[in-house]
Symmetry: D2
Subunit: 119 residues, 4 copies
């Protein structure tokens, strides 16, 4: 049997249980959670701030494992936040992809990092 | 047929294709992506910065939809980042949950927002 | 003689010397510095993420001292960043205050946290 | 007469007046302000996220002016935050510089971006 799944809904449920078991819902309001998410994003950034592009793309194994766990932290708080706001994260991601496909048509955006408002 | 799925792997694949179609891999290196992620986290924070806890927990519908798309942005850049670092995000999340279960045993952490290093 | 000054220019000079002494200018390019700044902002956020408004406004002395040093980190990287971009931070702050006075006229913005674009 | 000054205390006073005039102290509590600061740091990051080191170091004039105002935003919220926490930002910066001089002795840290905990 699979030890992990890649379903957002499954992760969401586990987190809900994790928080309930610890009586943490009192802390997990949207304002706090968005701060926790920003804090974790900051930790991720700190791993990369002094690296060249090459170094960032070939992290030593130990660093890569730390970074993987920081990525996980971002995902976990993001799922909690979405949950508390009654946002279906997977549906939002699909919708955003569709919007981006319109905002960034291949012909206009190919090879350019220009924001859609300036395309 | 389902219009969206909640599989991280499925989203990862779609993003890979989206970037390839636009020749964006040249921009999507880990250092840039971690910055993009931090930028999106910042946009999320801006939605909540002046709100009370009550206001943050009951966003007007239009704001909630904007916030949902910001959450999506965070997820999409997180998936791209993990992909470029060869990190399996779902596996990392499962691992982090297991580590957290050890760091935050129910008995010691119940009802407390104390960091595990200070428990 | 004063042991510290509150002059931004004086701080900027000290930081320049500090980096030069350590041969750190090779790391202190704008892209890296903006990441370092974001990382420090994230650390600041982490101090406050689980706090109520009341707790945040009455930090224990030890926490307040840690927070003071995090605030200092933000300022120091901000000064380095501005320096490397040839931005006069004090002048920019004065200019922004003037712009804000126009964007947020007292009559329209009194008691409201509404962004100027929505006033 | 000088049109601007580079004194942190002078800026702090102006901001205090600016907020008082608009009855904004009700919003300017530490938790909100630290979020506003993180949001502004995120905006700064967004300017640089897709740039090479070279591009980041030679911004077009218009971008540099926008970035200068974002830097100003970070400073202004940082000053407000420090003010509300009764932190003397200039003194904290001086203290942090002294601590850094101890943590990063020239002999050990010359030419290395290694964190002091790993030196």
């Amino acid at each position: 049997m699979a030890r992990h799944t890649d379903s957002l809904e499954s992760l969401r449920t586990k987190l809900e249980r994790f928080a309930a078991d610890r009586d943490w819902d009192q802390f997990h309001n949207p304002k706090n959670l968005v701060m926790a998410l920003a804090g974790e994003a900051g930790e991720l950034v700190e791993h990369f701030q002094w690296l060249t592009f090459e170094e960032a793309a070939s992290l030593p194994r130990a660093t890569r494992e730390e970074v993987a766990l920081e990525c996980a932290d971002v995902l976990l708080f993001l799922l909690r936040l979405a949950d508390k706001l009654d946002i279906n994260l997977a549906a939002a991601a699909e919708k955003k992809l569709e919007l981006n496909a319109v905002k960034y048509p291949v012909a206009k955006s190919r090879g350019r990092a220009t924001k859609y408002t300036k395309l």
